[in-house]
């Protein structure tokens, strides 16, 4: 039922087959942010895990950087329709951060400096699916890309990979974060093209 666009041939890339529906490849690294880039020094950076009433784990920058790290190669898919393949990161796995947390709470709200939030099922951030990343392409993560550290959840649209992350709250029920409360999808699977809440 699509209308054929008279005279449009398009530009199919060799990598096109690897892209989720409605995405196109980019070689640069665009930025999507709702507001100004916060400036966070390592001195006052911390990452906490809580259950809504109690802090269960807390790291400052030094103790966080003493945790074992992993290198990750990830395909990124932004809801604004660009995709970037094979991006190199270094970070701490959420499996490492959650290793000593015993919980039955099935949902997570990641919290950022600058008051950004995003919600995820806890099962989507364990089992080698999510990291707190602090290096991109061998260098410290730039502030506009989320430095000092951001969540990286490559299997979901990139807005779920919260920049400037400072903690996660475990929750009994799912709740919308920042973009999810503004019409974007609660889950955000790029392969099922879950961009907006009506999809």
């Amino acid at each position: 039922m699509s209308i054929i666009s008279r005279g449009f041939s398009g530009r199919r890339s060799a990598d096109g087959a690897k892209l989720p529906p409605g995405q196109h490849l980019t070689s640069d690294f665009p930025v999507l942010s709702a507001g100004p880039t916060p400036s966070i020094s390592h001195d006052r950076w911390e990452f906490t895990i809580d259950d809504g009433s109690n802090v269960l784990q807390r790291w400052d920058w030094n103790s966080f950087r003493n945790l074992p790290t992993e290198t990750i190669t990830a395909d990124l898919h932004c809801v604004t329709r660009w995709s970037k393949l094979g991006t190199p990161w270094e970070g701490v796995s959420l499996d490492t951060l959650l290793a000593n947390v015993k919980t039955d709470l099935p949902f997570a709200m990641f919290r950022s400096y600058g008051d950004y939030t995003t919600n995820l099922p806890l099962k989507d951030v364990v089992n080698k699916q999510a990291w707190i990343a602090f290096k991109y392409d061998g260098s410290d993560l730039a502030p506009e890309h989320g430095g000092p550290a951001r969540l990286l959840v490559p299997h979901l649209y990139l807005w779920k990979s919260a920049k400037w992350v400072k903690g996660v709250t475990l929750m009994p029920h799912d709740k919308p974060g920042f973009w999810e409360g503004l019409g974007y999808h609660m889950y955000g699977d790029p392969w099922r093209e879950q961009r907006y809440s009506e999809e």
Binding site: F8, P30, P36, R81, L182
Partner: protein, 244 residues
């Protein structure tokens, strides 16, 4: 969210590389200034490409929307939209989308708009929405362009800014200025911000749109001028929008 069909009813060149496309979209649900649409082009073999564009027109009840598209070198969709389409053609689109970088007609606080290049488009929708709704909100626009010939909506902005002090317009030229322009070509700076942006004690809501480097720079200047960072909303060009 379903795909709709819009019929092109008017085309207007804004600059040598940017064109406004007016579409009539039956059953258009309405929009808020600052929102986008997705446009889908489909080739005869079924290959399709989708891009998002900011709506340039104000919310109206006549099922007509306008977008302004800047042609990107090596772009896949923008060359088609700026060079190939004709009046009477149909385009598939859906939307509106986006609920953050928007100006609602019931906002009464001072509004500071800062545009870099084609970042003017959603801000123009806000200015037009302000006029169409007879809002009394006080607007200022700081509009940075490479050169005078690169400015969109020149005549309309000139006319609006001459209607009393409802929308105060300041241009900044980064490469080439008009003859006898008082400021040397260059990026916006603290001096220009202090002259042209609402002072922080008025607590303006700021909308900043443009390439990432422009938006980062403008935000730093606003924060240095005492604007509360929570009052700054940003939108940056997506992929390949940036001229490096």
């Amino acid at each position: 969210m379903s795909w709709r069909t819009g019929k092109i009813v008017a085309l207007r060149d804004e600059t040598s590389t940017a064109r406004t496309i007016a579409l009539v979209v039956p059953d258009w649900p309405g929009h808020v200034a600052g929102q986008h649409i997705d446009i889908r082009l489909t080739a005869p073999d079924g290959y399709s490409a989708v891009r998002s564009y900011s709506i340039a027109s104000p919310p109206t009840s006549d099922q007509r929307i306008e977008i302004t598209v800047e042609r990107l070198e090596n772009g896949e969709v923008s060359p088609y939209l700026t060079q190939e389409v004709a009046i009477g053609d149909e385009l598939e689109l859906r939307g509106p989308t986006g609920g953050w970088f928007v100006w609602h007609v019931d906002q009464t606080e001072p509004i500071q708009l800062i545009a870099g290049g084609s970042g003017i488009v959603p801000l123009m929708a806000m200015i037009r929405s302000r006029l169409a709704s007879h809002s009394n909100a006080r607007f200022r626009l700081l509009y940075s362009v490479r050169e005078p010939a690169a400015a969109f909506y020149k005549d309309e902005l000139h006319a609006i800014s001459n209607q009393g002090d409802c929308v105060i317009l300041t241009y900044a030229f980064t490469r080439i200025t008009p003859k006898d322009w008082p400021r040397a070509p260059g990026r916006i700076d603290a001096e220009l911000v202090s002259e042209s942006v609402w002072p922080s004690h008025l607590a303006p809501t700021c909308y900043v749109c443009g390439p990432t480097s422009f938006v980062e720079h403008a935000n730093e200047l606003l924060i240095a001028a005492g604007i509360n960072r929570e009052r700054i909303r940003t939108e940056r060009f997506g992929s390949t929008g940036e001229r490096k």
